[in-house]
Symmetry: C2
Subunit: 357 residues, 2 copies
């Protein structure tokens, strides 16, 4: 596999007064701040639904016995806390935003896994496989309602709930587009274009990251203009991370992704590396293989993977992810941000980009 | 089948200045006011999800061709409009509340039919049967988000969204209890008690009716005390209507309910008539039949139905429904309500009670 250059493309870090902050420390600090409040919120749910939420977060087994399974990185909650801090607010101002976006994130995992038929999540059975489809639907609904309630209890309830519902509407719309992409052909006039793909990714993944940053800032009293710019920056980050996920879905290590290798290719999922490859050279054989993707054997999947790479699909995807990271950075650089948390944000985003693409 | 006396138990109608209003006219007036706004809201959704919402409302076929299938009575939207009017506000003040509660109602039908495995809704295939489980989950999510957004765009956004999320939380909790009731035994120390059943019904059905009345009134500027009382009144109405649904689920005419006759008994659903019958006489044989409910033949179901009736289950359920209607009426009578819409509300509720129990 030819080496793909590391991304680290978020340029012009704001001048930090001390040594560069460590991304893991930043994520850990935000998690420590948010976790107890998130757990408390989940504890107000019906016990059965709370158990499913804890299972999804890796905090328990089926039946409720405590566990400590590999949890998510907590990017969304960190963005919300940093969103408050970069506009010179206290970290705690961003906590309700952090709790809400994490709840929405878990809600969307629960429901999306049902829609996508994904049986594994972070290496464990998805909630709908472990508890049943109906219960997983209901637990998702409960998390959704709890997220809205969390934001509705903040002093800026009206504007804050509107910020969240805009993101929720986009999240659903992006998921609808993604599901419908599966029915569309790989080539021809009905094929999914790159721009269309990126509009989907902005909604499906970007809207919630934008909401995290923007809502954290809003709750810390940021003016509307800054909130809007932060939302746009977060949306670019989302597109970048979605493309990174696509790259991992084809070339990622299953022990890291928790999913079978090449699973996206096997499922015939429309992902940017493949769409970009089809726009380039080497088109004929790849198209034939993709038409058969659901019945491809191991050799066929490996051949398709090699063709996507040879046609430049992987490099194009990485390039596009970098472009969105740079756009986010340009937007952030245009705001008068508090230097220490801005450096932390920059450090965290760079590390995430390095690791995932 | 012995006659069950009609309910018409909502006493002490406020003095109406003119001849008693016709319930169908009241429902029709409110529907005419709300429908265009509801349709406009649904039109903002992703077209695929909007189609599923219109299908659920009986406005189109699968594929989108216009249709006019028997729609729901529109009780929730009427309660929201009347909620605004009885506190002397204009009808239009209640319209956002009406749109929101209808959206939540359709959301809950979409998701509940998945959870309950109900394949028919109003005589047509449920959305999940017609479009698939994943799409039905997503369409429900979209309606949920749209409902919150609708309320978040009103001037009293903060308090109004909190009113809605409280109802949403209860709705989900009630549905969780209802699903778990299915796993519980009919008799013994783990059996579902009547009080427990009614607490479930208050959440699952009552919370949204209470929210309809209360939110309509709140948007019309009613004071907190009146809003709270209206919420409580609506919750009693919800318990009464849920019990009425239970009675229909056993003795109702399939051409009216749109469901197979005796379907609740066949599915072994915990309903108030059966729970009340088990608390009375004739217990032994009924318990044996219920233990076999999923495999009962036609004669077995008829026998169980007769035993529930003979043990007084039907009469007890009707009595309990009336008690809740009377409690709602007492609460309403304690408020200084505008007489004309209060008479309309009373008339509508009496007619609904007459028809369904």
């Amino acid at each position: 596999m030819p080496p793909v250059p590391p991304v680290r493309s978020v340029p012009s870090a704001p001048a930090a007064p001390e040594s560069p902050p460590d991304a893991a420390q930043v994520l850990g600090r935000c998690r420590d701040l948010v976790s107890p409040v998130l757990s408390e919120a989940i504890g107000t749910l019906h016990p059965w639904l709370a158990e499913m939420a804890r299972y999804a977060l890796g905090h328990c087994e089926v039946g409720g016995a405590p566990a400590d399974h590999g949890r998510g990185k907590g990017v969304r909650q960190a963005l919300a806390v940093l969103g408050a801090e970069i506009v010179s607010g206290p970290a705690r101002a961003g906590v309700p935003a952090a709790v809400a976006v994490e709840l929405v994130h878990v809600f969307s995992l629960l429901h999306d896994d049902i829609m996508d038929g994904d049986t594994l999540r972070r290496g464990r059975p998805a909630v709908w496989k472990a508890y049943g489809t109906g219960p997983a639907v209901l637990a998702g609904d409960a998390l959704f309602a709890l997220a809205v309630e969390t934001v509705a209890l903040t002093p800026q309830a009206g504007a804050a709930v509107r910020q969240l519902t805009t993101a929720l509407g986009d999240l659903v719309r992006g998921q609808a587009d993604d599901l419908l992409f599966a029915e569309r052909p790989w080539t021809g006039s009905d094929a999914v274009g790159q721009a269309e793909y990126e509009a989907m990714a902005e909604r499906k993944t970007g809207a919630l990251l934008g909401c995290a940053l923007a809502l954290g800032a809003r709750l810390a009293g940021a003016p509307d203009r800054a909130v809007t710019v932060l939302d746009r920056a977060g949306r670019h980050l989302g597109v970048a991370f979605q493309i990174a996920d696509d790259v991992l879905g084809i070339w990622g290590d299953p022990s890291v992704t928790g999913k079978p290798v090449h699973s996206d290719l096997r499922q015939g999922k429309k992902t940017l590396p493949v769409l970009a490859a089809l726009g380039g050279a080497g088109y004929g054989e790849l198209d034939e293989l993709l038409a058969l993707s659901h019945s491809l054997d191991e050799a066929g999947v490996r051949r398709a993977t090699a063709l996507v790479e040879r046609a430049g699909g992987r490099a194009a995807a990485v390039r596009e992810a970098r472009r969105h990271l740079a756009a986010a950075d340009t937007l952030l650089a245009g705001l008068p941000l508090a230097p220490v948390p801005a450096a932390e944000l920059h450090s965290m985003l760079s590390a995430l980009a390095d690791r995932t693409i």
